[in-house]
Amino acid sequence: MTSTIDVHAAAQTFLAHTEAHLVSYLEACVHCGLCAEACHFYQASGNPEHTPAYKLFPIAQAYRRQKFPLAWLGLAPRIDADDLKHWETLLFDTCTLCGRCTTACPMGIDIASIVTGARRAFVAAGLGPADLLAAADSSREHGSPLGLTAQKLRERIEWLADEHGVPIALDKAKADVLLTVSSVEMMKYPESVVAMAKLLNHAGVDWTFSSKGYEATNFGYLSGKSDIAKLMVERIVDAAQSVGARTVVVPECGHAFGVLRWTAANMLGRPLPFAVLHISEFLAQLKRAGKLELTPLKESITYHDPCQISRRGGAARDARYLLEDFAEDFREMTPTGNLNWCCGGGGGVQAIARAADLRYKVFKIKMDQVEQTGAQTMVSSCSNCRLTMDESKAHWKWEGGLASLVELVADHLVEETKPAV
């Protein structure tokens, strides 16, 4: 083959990871097409190729040719470089790993986990969107996908602490809690970082950022570069161990939470030496302990569930608990919670420039949902969702408000009743 696309490597990489659960998923699909209805990409584009089951075709074929008990019959069609090229777009641009299709699948197939495996295979073959891969490489080289080096982190933290008059701990020798950051926040929504610091300080938490391991997002995982995925996890583990943290708090980022909470231990091959909590879970804990006194929020809001925090993360209730007795006019979208519609930018799709038009189309579903509630503002607890929604909002010149859950909570904190530290 003259092409630079290594079909063999793709198959081998995928098949190297075919633990039983992925294989049974591949073997069990009955091609009923119900997953299409659940996928925001199909819903937004009407393109049958955006059917979740179809996205798995090349991987299913590679499996059938090589590992399937019946491979020797040679019945499965051969996949070639052109197929892989075609499916690159489907596997990277049109899947946010949101897991919604699984809820519709009569076989209960977890398509998102196969797409993740397929991406690894495609990267091994020399494929994958350049900008997404660059975000992963930048994470390895500079510590963050957006070039937030340890030096820049220090500068920005100093500047933010100064500007807002909020102490932000960095590189304390010892701390109970290691706080991490999404560089999307640090570069685009820095108030979010200030808000977290303010809340943790107020509650008397012994916490710190660490320049050893600060980046919560994991573009290695999203892009299919498993070595970088593991490296990003190791940095956080090192940082947590060196400050003796028993808890690592993930900021407002869905995938950062999903990767660190539910897959990092499996990447390392050992359990993590600390507990992982998303900031919304951590704040809910503080609230339960009576450490968050808030003034009521008057404006009407609705809550966008980040897929990796709610449907695939199991934390849908904590966000609602935070809003209880706080947001006086809280309106749920339909559907919501575990069946929410994705923002369109998860799974690394936000970082893929050529997918922008599709993301905008997907966001229309969200706009309609919000409008039906009549709420003024859509609140989320993921800065990646927020960035996707901000861009899509600008594209459609949409009037709806967008906000961060953590910032809202911090803005309504009653600071006088300072508990003992």
Binding site: A20, S24, A53, P69, N266, N338
Partner: protein, 219 residues
């Protein structure tokens, strides 16, 4: 040996053997793969794995409400032919006799008129499924020869059975032989094509149920 003797004898024996060994082989080749243990710490509220597995199975019996509208026809039709097939296989007196010969257990049968009616409905339902597969753009795209062939070998025993009991066109013995051969074809194909989902469904739903119940999520 006449056709019926062949269908009843060697053909069926071979088909049953292929079916049993085929299913066992596929299940074993799956179950003997390395099962990665999930090292992420489950939520404190997570139920035991078995409960998660059962929940996963039950959860996927029906699409969740917001999705059910779009999936209603397909889901209902799916249930019609699946239940129809079960009623025919386990409800007809002749089938019960045959199964009694194999396993030694038996149960009361349904009137043959009822079974015929169920078979007509099942057949119609299978044709509705095929019609959708041939016309719906999503299904057209994702359907493979495996889907069409599996449909064909499922439909055949229902059709030949119906014809046999209504004594149409040919002597009963010939019709019965054809019916039994079509059953053999189904048995032989089942382990190797998508009909294997009859077994895999327990595995995949349970796996997903376990993974997500550990996370405290419902999916």
């Amino acid at each position: 040996m006449n056709l019926l003797a062949f269908a009843r004898g060697p053909a069926l024996t071979v088909a049953l053997a292929v079916f049993v060994f085929g299913v066992a082989w596929r299940l074993l080749s799956l179950l003997l793969l390395p099962w990665a243990r999930d090292l992420a710490v489950a939520r404190a509220t997570a139920p035991p794995a078995l409960v998660g597995a059962v929940k996963g199975f039950v959860r996927h019996l029906w699409p969740p409400r917001p999705l059910a509208r779009g999936a209603l026809i397909v889901t209902v039709n799916g249930y019609v032919f699946h239940l129809g097939l079960a009623v025919i296989v386990f409800g007809l007196a002749q089938h019960i006799l045959f199964l009694r010969g194999l396993f030694g257990v038996h149960w009361p049968n349904l009137p043959s008129g009822v079974i015929s009616a169920v078979a007509v409905v099942t057949l119609a339902s299978l044709f509705v499924a095929l019609g959708r597969r041939l016309t719906n753009p999503v299904l057209k795209l994702i359907s493979t020869s495996n889907d069409y062939f599996s449909w064909f070998v499922t439909m055949l025993p229902v059709a030949t059975g119906l014809i046999a009991v209504s004594h149409l066109w040919a002597p009963y013995e010939t019709l019965l032989a054809v019916h039994m051969l079509s059953v053999s074809l189904l048995l032989v194909w089942l382990p190797f094509g998508k009909l294997m989902h009859a077994f895999l469904v327990f595995l995949t739903r349970a796996e997903t149920g376990i993974v997500y119940s550990r996370r405290g999520a419902e999916i």
